[in-house]
C-alpha cells in the first residue's frame, strides 16, 4: 500500500493542489502565472477548452460558453449547454477539467495516482459521489473525500505546533459558494470534529449576485426607466445574458476592492432597448455591508445553533478560525466577532488552509496501486540487478520470498507512536531491528513474527526518522528491505472522517398508520460503518403479488419525518421476486455498509424464503418507489390540512397562509402523481419527489422559531402536568413512571430538533400518558364515573350493560375496592359513544418492515 499524500481543494471559485512531503506541505503553483489558485472556470472556445483564469477572462467575450460555480450543481442532473459544441456538459465533467488541470501544477512531473479531495461538510451523499467520480474521471485511481472544516482545522492546528490547543474551537469556512461552521474539540492531543452546520448555497458568489441585483440594477433601472430590467437580466438565454456574466465578473472584482477600500467603482457600457448607455457606479463599503448583512447573519445564526446544540456558552470557545476567500471581507469578520463575542483568528491563510489540511490528511491515507509491480518493498530495479551481478550462479539468485506491510501515523502530538508491521511469506529465523536516526532508540535484534508492533518514542516538534532493517538467519542485513519511517511530532491527525448526517431506515409505525425513521448510523460517527439489522416483516406478501417490501435508506436528520430526508438508497422486493409467500412476523436481515467515501451498499436477506438481495448505490441510480411516494404525498397533504385547521383555530393567519400556499403547490402535482406508474421513464417522479421533499422541509419550518418556542413551551407544560399527577397515581404507578422516564429520556435531543412535527408527536405521547395516569388515579376515576353515571341513555352503545356495571361499580366503591372499581370504569368507557372526528384509513401499506 502507498500513502496518498496529495490533497486537492476543489472550490466553487478557486481550486488548489498540495502534497505532504516529510512533515511539510508544498502547495503547487500554476506553471503559468505562478499562482497557487486555479479559477474553477471552464470555457469552451471553438478551437479549444480553457481552464482557470484564462477561462474566467474569456467570460467577458463569450459568456454563454463559459461555466463557473458548477460545484453547487454537483449531485444533480443539471446540464450546461455549450453553444460552441452544441452539446451538454455536466457538473462532473466540468470538475474533471479542473482536476486534470490541477495535476499539471505538480512541477516534479509526478502524476498523482490518488488524492484527497475536499467537499463541504454539508454535501450529501449524491454530491459526494459526484465529486469522487470527477476525480476518477480525471485519472485518479483512488479518491478519498474530506470535509473542508476538518481540512482547515488540520491546517490551522499544525501551523502552530508549539501552542496549547486544548479546548473548543470553531472553524468558520465561508468560501465562494458554500458555507460550513464546525465545532472542533482538542483533548489530550487528539482533535475531533464534534458538530457542524452548513449551507451549500451561501458564499461569495451570492454576494456578487447581490451586488448586481441590489446595487447595480437599481442604477440601471433609474437611468433607463426599464422597470423589469432585473428580471430580464437574470433570464436564462435572455437578451442580456452576456451583460449578466460581465456584471458578475465585475461585481467580484468590486467586492475584492471593497475589502481594502472604503469605496470602489464599476464601469461598463451596454445597449438597452436600442439605446447605448455608459455606466459609472460608485459603491461604498457601507452599501455593500448592508446588502450582505442578512446572509452573514444567517451564518451567525448557524454558529449559534451549533453552540446551543452542544450546550456550550461562548466563553468555552477559544477562537473562531476563519477560512475561505469570503472571510477577507472586513464586515464578515467584524460582524462575527461582534455578534458572538468570540475572537476571530485570521492567522491561517484562508485561501490555502483547506488544501494544506487535505494534504496533511492525505499523508495518513493509504491505497493499493492498481499496477502490482513485481518489486517488493524497498527494492528497485538496480537492487535486483545488483543481486544478479553478484551471484556466481545466475540461476540460484537468492530471492526474499516475503513482504512487509507497515502501518503508522506520519504525524502525532504524542510522545510515542505505534508501528504495526505484518510480514507475509517465508522468513524463518529472520529478525528485525528498528533504530531511530539519532540513536536514541534501538530495539536490538528481535525475531521476526507474522505481525508485530513497536512503540516508537518521538522527539518533540521534529521529524523523527526510524530505520527498519531486516536480517537473515546469519544476521546479515537484507539491504533491499530497509525501510525508513518518518513521524513528525507536534502535528495533529484526525482519527477518521465523520459521517455528516444521520443515516436512517424507514420503518412502519403501525400504531399511527405512518412510517418513522430508525437510526442506523448517527451523524459524526467515524467512517467506514457497517451494521446488520434484524427486523420482522410487518405484513404478509404473497408470492407473485404486486405487494412490496421497501427498504428505504435516508440521509438527513433522525428527528424529522422520512419525507424531509434524502433517499440515498432503496431496495424494493415485490411478491413477484419471491420464491414463496413471505409471512408477517418472519425475519428480515439487513446489512448496511457505508465506506470511507460514503458509498452505500446493502444486502437484504429474507430468512423465510432464503433469498438475498444486494445493491450498491451511486449517483447514477436515483431510486424512487412510486408506491411510497404516493403514500408520502397523501400523508403530507393530510398533515398540512390538519395544521391549517389548527392555525385557523388559533387565529394564526400568517402561518395559515404559508401552509395554504404549500398545500396549493403540493396539490399542483397531484394529477401527475396519480398518472405515474413504475415503468415511467420520464423525470416526473424525480420532480415530484423533489417537490414533496422541499415542501416537507418548508412545512417543517412554518412559523420558524416562534412556533418552535410555542411547542417547546407546550411540551414542558404537559410534562410538568404528567409529573405532578404521577405522584398521586394509585395504580400501575411503576409502569407509568417507567413510561414517563422512557418518553422524557431523549428530551435533550428532542429539544434540539428544528422540526415541529417531532415536538408535536412528543407532546401527543405525553398527553396520552397523562390520560393513562388520570385513569389510574382514584380521585379522577370517581369524578369521571360520576360524570358517566349522569350521562343520558343515548350516550351509551348499550345502556342496559352500562346499568349493570353501575351497580357493580357502586358496590366496589362502597367497599373501597378501588382496583375493581377502576376495571368497571374502564368497561364503562368502552360503552360510551365517541365522535370519530377523524378515522385513519386502514389502507396503510408502509414499507413492510416493522
Amino acid at each position: 500500500m502507498k500513502a496518498v499524500n496529495f490533497g486537492i481543494d476543489l472550490g466553487t471559485t478557486n481550486s488548489l493542489i498540495a502534497k505532504y512531503e516529510n512533515g511539510n506541505i508544498v502547495v503547487f503553483k500554476n506553471p503559468i502565472g505562478h499562482k497557487e489558485t486555479l479559477a474553477s472556470v471552464v470555457a469552451f472556445r471553438n478551437d479549444r477548452i480553457l481552464v482557470g483564469d484564462k477561462a474566467r477572462e474569456y467570460m467577458l467575450k463569450d459568456a454563454v460558453n463559459v461555466f463557473g460555480g458548477f460545484k453547487r450543481r454537483m449531485g444533480t442532473d443539471e446540464k450546461f449547454y455549450v453553444v460552441n459544441m452544441d452539446e451538454n456538459v455536466t457538473p462532473v465533467q466540468l470538475s474533471t477539467y479542473i482536476l486534470k488541470e490541477l495535476q499539471q501544477f505538480v512541477y516534479s512531473g509526478e502524476k498523482p495516482e490518488s488524492a484527497v479531495i475536499t467537499i463541504p461538510a454539508s454535501f450529501d451523499t449524491m454530491q459526494s459521489n459526484a465529486t469522487k467520480i470527477a476525480g476518477e474521471e480525471a485519472g485518479l485511481e483512488e479518491v478519498f473525500l474530506l470535509q473542508e472544516p476538518i481540512a482547515a482545522s488540520l491546517a490551522y492546528f499544525n501551523h502552530q505546533p508549539e501552542e496549547n490547543h486544548e479546548g473548543h474551537w470553531l472553524v468558520y469556512d465561508l468560501g465562494g459558494g458554500t458555507f460550513d461552521i464546525a465545532l472542533v474539540k482538542i483533548t489530550e492531543g487528539e482533535m475531533k470534529v464534534v458538530d457542524h452546520e452548513g449551507n451549500n448555497f451561501l458564499g461569495g458568489l451570492d454576494f456578487d449576485l447581490m451586488i448586481v441585483e441590489q446595487l447595480i440594477v437599481p442604477e440601471i433601472v433609474s437611468r433607463t426607466g426599464v422597470e423589469d430590467f432585473g428580471a430580464q437580466l437574470t433570464t436564462q438565454y435572455g437578451l442580456y445574458e452576456k451583460l449578466y456574466y460581465q456584471l458578475l465578473y465585475k461585481a467580484e472584482e468590486l467586492k475584492k476592492e471593497l475589502s481594502n477600500l472604503p469605496q470602489a467603482d464599476i464601469d461598463f457600457s451596454t445597449d438597452i432597448e436600442g439605446k447605448h448607455y455608459d455606466f459609472y457606479i460608485t459603491i461604498t463599503q457601507e452599501q455593500f455591508n448592508n446588502i450582505i448583512s442578512r446572509r452573514v447573519d444567517e451564518t451567525v445564526h448557524m454558529l449559534k445553533q451549533v453552540l446551543e446544540r452542544n450546550h456550550l456558552p461562548v466563553e468555552m470557545i477559544r477562537q473562531t478560525i476563519m477560512v475561505g476567500g469570503s472571510t477577507f471581507i472586513p464586515y464578515v469578520r467584524n460582524r462575527l466577532e461582534h455578534a458572538t463575542g468570540i475572537k476571530v483568528n485570521m492567522s491561517v491563510d484562508p485561501t490555502t488552509a483547506v488544501v494544506v489540511g487535505a494534504a496533511y490528511y492525505a499523508a495518513n491515507k493509504y491505497y493499493t496501486p492498481k499496477d502490482n509491480s513485481d518489486l517488493r518493498i524497498g527494492e528497485d530495479i538496480n537492487d535486483l540487478l545488483k543481486d544478479f551481478d553478484d551471484m556466481d550462479d545466475a540461476f540460484s539468485m537468492p530471492l526474499h520470498d516475503f513482504s512487509l506491510s507497515f502501518s503508522y501515523s506520519k504525524m502525532s502530538k504524542e510522545t510515542e507512536e505505534v508501528l504495526l508491521v505484518k510480514a507475509n511469506g517465508v522468513f524463518d529465523n529472520y529478525s528485525y531491528r528498528i533504530v531511530r536516526a539519532d540513536g536514541g532508540f534501538d530495539t536490538g535484534f528481535v525475531l521476526l513474527k507474522t505481525k508485530f508492533t513497536e512503540f516508537l518514542p518521538l522527539l518533540p516538534n521534529l521529524n523523527n526518522s526510524f530505520f527498519v532493517t531486516i536480517y537473515d538467519e546469519q544476521k546479515n542485513e537484507i539491504s533491499s528491505l530497509r525501510e525508513e519511517i518518518i513521524i513528525t511530532q507536534g502535528q495533529y491527525h484526525i482519527a477518521g472522517q465523520p459521517l455528516p448526517k444521520d443515516i436512517c431506515i424507514e420503518v412502519d409505525d403501525k400504531e399511527n398508520n405512518t412510517t418513522k425513521l430508525e437510526l442506523v448510523f448517527e451523524k459524526n460517527s467515524l467512517l467506514p460503518l457497517k451494521k446488520t439489522l434484524y427486523r420482522e416483516i410487518s405484513k404478509t406478501v404473497k408470492k407473485g403479488s404486486d405487494d412490496k417490501i421497501i427498504l428505504n435508506i435516508l440521509e438527513g436528520d433522525k428527528f424529522t419525518r422520512p419525507l424531509s430526508n434524502l433517499t440515498i438508497g432503496c431496495i424494493e422486493i415485490s411478491g413477484k421476486d419471491l420464491k414463496s409467500d413471505l409471512l408477517k412476523g418472519s425475519d428480515i436481515e439487513m446489512q448496511i455498509v457505508i465506506s470511507d467515501n460514503r458509498e452505500l451498499s446493502t444486502e437484504v436477506f429474507l430468512v423465510m424464503t432464503q433469498q438475498s438481495f444486494k445493491n450498491v448505490f451511486s449517483i447514477t441510480e436515483k431510486q424512487i418507489s412510486i408506491a411510497r411516494l404516493k403514500e408520502q404525498f397523501n400523508d403530507l397533504e393530510e398533515e398540512i390540512r390538519k395544521t391549517i385547521k389548527e392555525f385557523n383555530f388559533d387565529d394564526n393567519e400568517v402561518w395559515a397562509t404559508s401552509a395554504n400556499e404549500m398545500l396549493s403547490e403540493l396539490l399542483s402535482h397531484k394529477k401527475d402523481l396519480a398518472k405515474l406508474n413504475e415503468k415511467d421513464r420520464s423525470d416526473k417522479k424525480y420532480i415530484i419527489a423533489e417537490a414533496v421533499n422541499r415542501i416537507s422541509q418548508a412545512y417543517d419550518k412554518i412559523g420558524g422559531n416562534d412556533r418552535l418556542q410555542n411547542l417547546i413551551s407546550e411540551y414542558f407544560n404537559i410534562k410538568e402536568y404528567v409529573e405532578q399527577y404521577l405522584m398521586t397515581c394509585d395504580f400501575e404507578k411503576d409502569r407509568l413512571q417507567a413510561k414517563f422516564k422512557q418518553l422524557t429520556q431523549g428530551e435533550n435531543q428532542l429539544l434540539r430538533t428544528r422540526n415541529p412535527s417531532i415536538l408535536i408527536k412528543a407532546i401527543e405521547q405525553l398527553n396520552k400518558l397523562g390520560w393513562d395516569v388520570l385513569m389510574n388515579t382514584s380521585s379522577y376515576l370517581i369524578a369521571r364515573y360520576q360524570q358517566m353515571k349522569s350521562a343520558p341513555e343515548w350516550d351509551y352503545k348499550n345502556y342496559y350493560a352500562a346499568q349493570s356495571i353501575f351497580k357493580m361499580a357502586d358496590k366496589a366503591l362502597e367497599q373501597e375496592k378501588f382496583f375493581e372499581f377502576r376495571q368497571h370504569v374502564y368497561s364503562l368507557t368502552h360503552l360510551v359513544k365517541y365522535e370519530e372526528s377523524f378515522v385513519k384509513s386502514n389502507d396503510f401499506n408502509g414499507t413492510g418492515i416493522g
Binding site: 493499493t368 503508522y408 504495526l420 460517527s525 422516564k741
Partner: protein, 505 residues
Amino acid sequence: MQYQSIIRFFDFSGIEYDNVGGFNLSRAKKLVTAEFAMQADGIIVVDGCSYTKQEILAELERRDFSERLQFHKIIWENKGLLAFLEEDRFDFHDGGNWYSLSDMPGFVSFVSPYFSVVYNRIMRSFLNNNDLAAAADWLDYLFFIEAEDEEEALRNTRMYLNDVVRFFRNLNDASYKSRDKELRLWYTTSWSNFINKLPDSLLSYVDEIVSAIINFTVRIQKSGKKICYKISKELLNVTNANYSLLQLIRSNHEAYAQNYKGKTFTGWLKSGVNIVYVIMIVIFAVSKLFLSDSDDSGYNFLDNKVVDKSISEVQRYKNARDYYRTNYGSREFVFNPERNAGGPFDDKNVYLLVEGVKDSAKALTPFSIKNNTRNTIQLYVLRADNVYYFDLAPLEFLSFAPLYNQSVDIILKFDNEGDTFTIPSDSLNEMQFLHVGSLGQEHDTAYVFNDTTNIDMPYLEEAELLQKAPLVIDIRRKEGAFYFQLKGRGNVIYEKGKDAGVTMK
C-alpha cells in the same frame, strides 16, 4: 443493540487486557487506528465477526470503559453466554451455568441492552412453537434486563398476549371446534405457570387474558364440557389475576366440575379410582388427628423438610417484635392498593409481619411464602415460647394458617450461615421489615399475636392448593437484592429495606 465481543478484536490485534486496572488506553487506541489503516475497506473480520473503527473506538472512549472491560472479559470467558448474545444460541442447561451472573453488581446494567434484544427473539421462538413451559422458564431470565429495556425484551411477548386475547374473544361455542389445533394448548398443558410468571409490566394482560378465557368457558360450558372443565381447572392455578377474577374462576369451576363430573357423590364414587382417593383422604385426616403432635414438633409428613428446634433467642425475637411495633407499627398510613411488592432488601434478616383483620371475609389466612430464589431461606416463627425455624428450599412454598384476626410475624434469614438468627439488640434500628395487610382493610395497630394456640404449624404447600390462599408472598432475587411480590389480597403497609429509610404506604 447486538453484542459483539471486543475481546475477540483485542486478541486479534494483540492489545493487552488482562490487567483491567492497568489497561493502557492510549496505546490501545493507537493500535486500533494502525490495524484499521491496514484494511483497504476499513473493516476487519475476525472469526466471521466484522469490526469497524467507529465501534471499537466508541467503546474505548466510554467513561466507564474499565468497568465494562471486566464484564466483556466475563462474557468472553463464558462461551455459552457469548454464543447466546452473539448468535442467539441458547439452551437451559447452559443458561444455568451463567444465570448467577445476574447477581453480580453492575453486570445487569451492562448486559441488559444486548440481552433484551436476544431475549425477545428467543421468547418469540418459544411462543411460536407454543412451548409455554419453556417460555415460563425463560421469564426467569428477565433478571438480566433493566426496566428501560424491558419494553424491547417483551415486545414479542406482548404481541403474543394480544393474540391470545383476540383468539379467545373470537371463539364461540361453534367456532372453537374448528380451531382445536390452536385451542389444544390451553387444555392440555400447564400454561398457568407462564401467566403467573409474567412480570408486573404485563399484569394488565393477565386480567385481559383471564377475562377472555373465563368468558370463553362460559360460552362453551354446555357444548364443550370437558374442554371447559380442563381449561377452568388450569385457570384455578392462575394466581396473579385480580382478586375478583380469581373468585369468579373458583365459583365457575365449581359449577363446571359439577357439570362435567356428575351431580351425586355416589356417581362420583362409581369410579374405582375415586374410591381410592376417598380412602386416602380418610387415612390422611385420621393421621392428622391422631398421629401428629402439632404443638411442639414439625409435621410428620414433612420430616425431612422441617426441623423442630427450640432456641433460646425467644427474648431477642420478642425484642424485634416490640421494636417494630413501638417505632413503626402504630403509625397512620395512606392506603395504596397498588403497592403489592416490597423491596429491595439486602441479605440481612427481614422481619415480616402479616396483619390479622377484623372482618373474617377479608382475612389473609391461609397465606403462603414461596422461595423463588436459588438459595434456601430460613424462616423463624415464635410459638409457644419457642422459636422454630424452617428451611425453605428453592421453589418450595410454606403455608401458614392463623385465625383471621391473628397477626403473624416471621423472621427470614437469607445467608444460611449457622442456625441462629442475628438480630443483636443494639442494631435493631438497622433491621429490615415488611408489614403486609389485607387490601382495603383498616390498619389494626392492636396486633393480636397469639403465639400459644391456634396457629397451624407451617406446612409445605402443593402448588395446586395455592388457589385457596388469599395471599402468596413470592420472594425473588434480582441483582443481589430480595423482592417480596404479594399475590392475591395482600398489600404492603410499611417496609424498610436496603439502604432505605422507612417507606410508609
